[in-house]
């Protein structure tokens, strides 16, 4: 198994200065946008994106062309790039921001041309100080060259881009929370409907929200074609994707591959295997995704295949857990994450995640009660009735329901690991 480098080719081949304008242009950068601005139309760009069948890389996997098509008419519209990347296990946007910021900027210019937008934002999580610096200086370079600002590339198009730093709240990755945050408010998700960003987004104006990786793919699609892109990968999961591989793995890292091979192959070849041990369980798509078992490594890495197994490809974060992993502690870490990151608007999420954390804490430390397994599942069921995946919602956003994923996985496939921590059943009579 080999990588297919579209988005990460330039950075791989030019490690010394891939973040600079000079290197980007020397390797064909900004040619795509020049071509589009000179002889393309917004309709043509939209058609190419639709033809590419690319689905959003932020986690939800929504078809990008369809999303762009939804954008409501208005004189004032915005593009907001989601660079909040905080899903535990994920570090793919970081490399794109840090090592190839001009690719993102070029993708943004093309997107704004297609959607007739003249003001765009890049929302980067506050902890990504270095990536933000790289992006900021790339933007400055682009302004100096006349690639941003007024009449860019000598055309009639105007575009300003502002980098906006988040401040340590995972929930701001959820697009409506992100918009609240960008408006200077608490990062609390908005209720959909009516607040679909494409209709009522930033300042209640139509807004495209797209992930860093999604928009970084646009220059390649436009300098080749939507059809070329869709010929990579498999139906329903076209193109390449950058997977972040971590956990108990010999060769962790970001790998850009066509979707469609199995997790096992991925782990054995690119990941160089799991330190002489068997894999007990793995997370196929970030902290929000239900776990898969070590005997499920033949599952194909596509959005639909992983969904068929009752989990999700999500943010592309693959975390390997070997046979020595204490899965109760792993689940506790995941649940604490959600408890900490709950914005607090919805009772099931706010109270539920806190209770899950407390109960798991006592189970992990040997102070558990016999009834704790049922109690944990009951709390989960109150957050997401039926414990299905994709989860049923009782809340404004999917964060709360996602918190149940690891507990349900633990109870379904590894219940004995919990049971040994609990007191023995007393038989009466």
């Amino acid at each position: 198994m080999k990588e297919t480098l579209l988005l990460t080719k330039h950075m791989r081949e030019n490690p010394e200065d891939s973040h600079s304008l000079k290197s980007y242009e020397k390797n064909g950068g900004y040619e795509s946008v020049k071509k589009v601005l000179k002889s393309g139309t917004p309709e043509e760009v939209l058609q190419e994106i639709k033809d590419s069948n690319i689905r959003g890389r932020g986690g939800a996997g929504f078809p990008t062309g369809v999303k762009w098509g939804f954008l409501a008419e208005d004189e004032e519209r915005y593009l907001v790039i989601n660079g909040d990347e905080s899903e535990p296990g994920t570090f793919k946007d970081r490399i794109l921001l840090e090592r190839d910021p001009h690719q993102l900027i070029e993708g943004m210019i093309i997107t704004c041309f297609a959607a007739n937008i003249s003001k765009a934002f890049i929302y980067i999580r506050g902890e990504y100080a270095k990536p933000a610096r790289r992006v900021q200086s790339a933007i400055e370079e682009a302004y100096e060259k006349g690639y941003l600002g007024k009449n860019i590339f000598g055309s009639s198009m105007n575009l300003d881009i502002v980098v906006h730093l988040g401040a340590g709240a995972y929930i701001c990755g959820e697009e409506t929370a992100l918009l609240n945050s960008l408006e200077g408010r608490r990062g609390e998700p908005r209720l959909k409907p009516p607040f679909f960003p494409a209709v009522k987004g930033l300042y209640n104006k139509p807004t495209l929200v797209n992930n860093v990786e999604t928009i970084s793919s646009v220059p390649w699609i436009m300098s080749n074609s939507g059809k070329d892109y869709s010929s990579l990968g498999v139906e329903g999961s076209t193109g390449t994707r950058i997977f972040s591989l971590s956990g108990h793995i010999n060769n962790p890292g970001n790998y850009e591959i066509e979707m469609g091979s199995s997790f096992g192959e991925f782990v054995d070849t690119l990941g160089k295997g799991v330190k002489n041990k068997a894999i007990k369980a793995y997370i196929p798509g970030g902290a929000s995704a239900p776990w898969l078992r070590g005997d499920q490594l033949d599952v194909k890495m596509t959005i639909d295949d992983v969904a068929n197994e009752g989990s999700m490809l999500g943010s592309g974060a693959v975390v390997m857990m070997d046979e020595d992993t204490n899965l109760v502690l792993a689940a506790k870490s995941l649940v604490s994450f959600f408890a900490h990151e709950s914005c607090g608007q919805c009772t099931p999420c706010r109270e539920g995640t806190t209770w899950l954390e407390n109960i798991l804490e006592r189970v992990a430390s040997g102070r558990g009660r016999l009834s704790d397994i049922d109690l944990l599942l009951d709390v989960c069921d109150n957050i997401s009735p039926g414990l299905t995946w994709p989860p049923k919602m009782t809340t404004i956003c999917p964060l709360g329901p996602s918190a149940t994923a690891s507990i349900v996985s633990l109870m379904k496939d590894f219940r004995s690991e919990v049971e040994v921590l609990l007191p023995k059943k007393v038989v009466i009579g």
Binding site: P15, D17, S18, E76, E85, S86, P88, G89, T90, F91, D93, R94, I95, E98, R125, G126, E127, A129, K130, R133, R134, Q136, I139, E140, Y143, E144, G149, D160, V162, V163, H164, L165, G166, A167, G168, A169, S181, E183, G184, R185, R186, G187, Y203, S244, S246, G247, H248, P252, G253, N254, I283, V319, M321, T325, L329, A330, S333, S336, F337, E341
Partner: protein, 204 residues
């Protein structure tokens, strides 16, 4: 103490970058924290005047986000990751060694206002777990011993500017990916070392 002219000047530049003033609140809170190491009442008053929202509104937003500190922070903010990839790579040992060395528990600052310690959620360095940030500059592939070396070095050197690449070279190990060319920029205070503030839409 109210804001000095230079800070006010920066604040105005930031406000101009946004279609609506209130959007500048986040970056202005960083300006405030850069001044005092936390969001002081004086800064809240200042910001409320600058963007025309009430002090309570400013406070309510500030308290929502974990990177806006409600209490004075030391010169060096040590943030150790405890999320899943780090957790299963023994981040708890790193956490213990940092806690032992500094004598601090979570969200505490020492008497000299030198270190603040916190355990945090994923900092996007999972391939290089376990990871830490010092004033939001990332170090990957830490060991408990290296973490202590890092703290000692900060104590001895008291660097004016914290640079991720330098720390990684000295104390780091496995990385999430090839960092390639070194960045010599960094943080001068416990806020992200990021200067939005000199570019604005006018720039050509």
């Amino acid at each position: 103490m109210s804001w000095e002219t230079e800070r006010l000047e920066k604040a105005k530049q930031i406000i101009e970058m946004y279609p609506q003033k209130r959007s500048a609140l986040g970056p202005l809170l960083y300006l405030a924290q850069d001044k005092d190491g936390y969001i002081s009442n004086e800064s809240i008053v200042e910001i409320s005047g600058l963007i025309g929202i009430t002090e309570v509104q400013v406070q309510s937003v500030a308290s929502f986000y974990s990177m806006y500190k409600q209490e004075p922070t030391g010169k060096f903010l040590l943030s150790v990751c405890k999320s899943i990839s780090c957790e299963i790579s023994n981040s708890s040992d790193v956490i213990n060694s940092v806690k032992n060395f500094t004598g601090l528990s979570n969200n505490e600052t020492d008497d000299e206002n030198f270190f603040t310690y916190e355990s945090v959620e994923c900092i996007g360095a999972c391939g290089g777990a376990p990871a830490i940030q010092v004033n939001y500059e990332t170090v990957e592939g830490l060991t408990p011993d290296k973490a202590v070396d890092l703290c000692k070095w900060l104590k001895e050197e008291e660097p004016e500017i914290v640079v991720a690449d330098e720390l990684q070279d000295k104390f780091g190990g496995v990385k999430s990916f090839d960092w390639a060319i070194a960045d010599n920029n960094g943080a001068t205070s416990p806020v992200p070392g990021f200067q939005t503030y000199d570019t604005s839409k006018e720039k050509k």
